[in-house]
Symmetry: C2
Subunit: 181 residues, 2 copies
Amino acid sequence: MPHLLLKDLPRYECLLEAAKQFPSLDPSACEVFLNLLRTGDEAFRVTDEHFQAKGLSQGRFTVLMLLFDKACGQSHSCTPAELADRAGVTRATMTGLIDTLERDAMVLRKPSASDRRMLSVELTPRALAFLAEILPEHFRRINNLMTPLSENERRTLVRLLGKIAARAAEVSPVSETAAHA
Amino acid sequence: MPHLLLKDLPRYECLLEAAKQFPSLDPSACEVFLNLLRTGDEAFRVTDEHFQAKGLSQGRFTVLMLLFDKACGQSHSCTPAELADRAGVTRATMTGLIDTLERDAMVLRKPSASDRRMLSVELTPRALAFLAEILPEHFRRINNLMTPLSENERRTLVRLLGKIAARAAEVSPVSETAAHA
DNA sequence: CTTATGTGATTAGGGGGCTAATCATAAGGC
DNA sequence: GCCTTATGATTAGCCCCCTAATCACATAAG
């Protein structure tokens, strides 16, 4: 779901104007920031539109992909805690996602033999068929979105985004509290 | 609030591997896509962290900024419909946002004199003082996030993001249905 | 004037995030 | 063995987003 954002980005001249009122405002930094958030949202929307048409949310898609990745490896299952950790959501949220996926017969909860506190979550055959149906179109949408960029531009973009992401990780590291809770 | 996303991006080799299974998967396009969404989320988090500490959400901040922009111009107020339109959310959502802002004494609802269906929403002095307090730190955080990029790199990044955003607007234009509902 | 239609705001109900609290089971110290 | 502590999953309750339905008022047609 897109973040709430100004639909019309402030124009550069407006930023220069506002900078007079707020000395700490750096117009070029703000411009990058606003464009980054908006483009991220637009890109998200392109794929989310497809998911919604198929009755999927981004959260449910992520869970299915994590389990699909597991299924391609050796282990066929995963605990809710591991899924929450890898998806970057709380365990409470993962409980809710698994609830709706189970209701839609996409996953199965199975008790763990070794530790009776734990569950193991598995994809159903229905989920595998569903993913095989939607993934090609998903990738096509991503390709289509990126067609305006040459291979060279893609490398540049990834490099510049990486600089920002690395800086963000320094400035406000993802808290480890969730993992300990 | 960040989109639910894989915390650990698939590495490039994994994308190449997965491409064998899905012919429609273009590794470089996917790489840009995943980095864009993740970096957008990280950037969002840097500012949202600050907002949350001040008891603000992104949605409420956007509404305050829209009204603040109005207040800097001539008109001191705005209808909920206009706010919803400019923020890119539904009117129902805007009703909820205004509810919580009014509860926190940040905005006032006033009946319109000319049309008794309409309201006008105004910032309170408390909101103005609040914005004056938090905005400098908000801009500082954005500057800090962008320090790794030179002015040249910023221009490049904005240009490349613009290409994607333009493509997204072509591929899946923002529906006008919300405005008509 | 009366009625149909359009438009502003709201409400009702659902999804999906979150935190904090709860409950069952494990594991370790005495 | 028993009690404390830690950890897995869940529940309860909040916020913010959505769509669809509702209500009040304006406006135009007959």
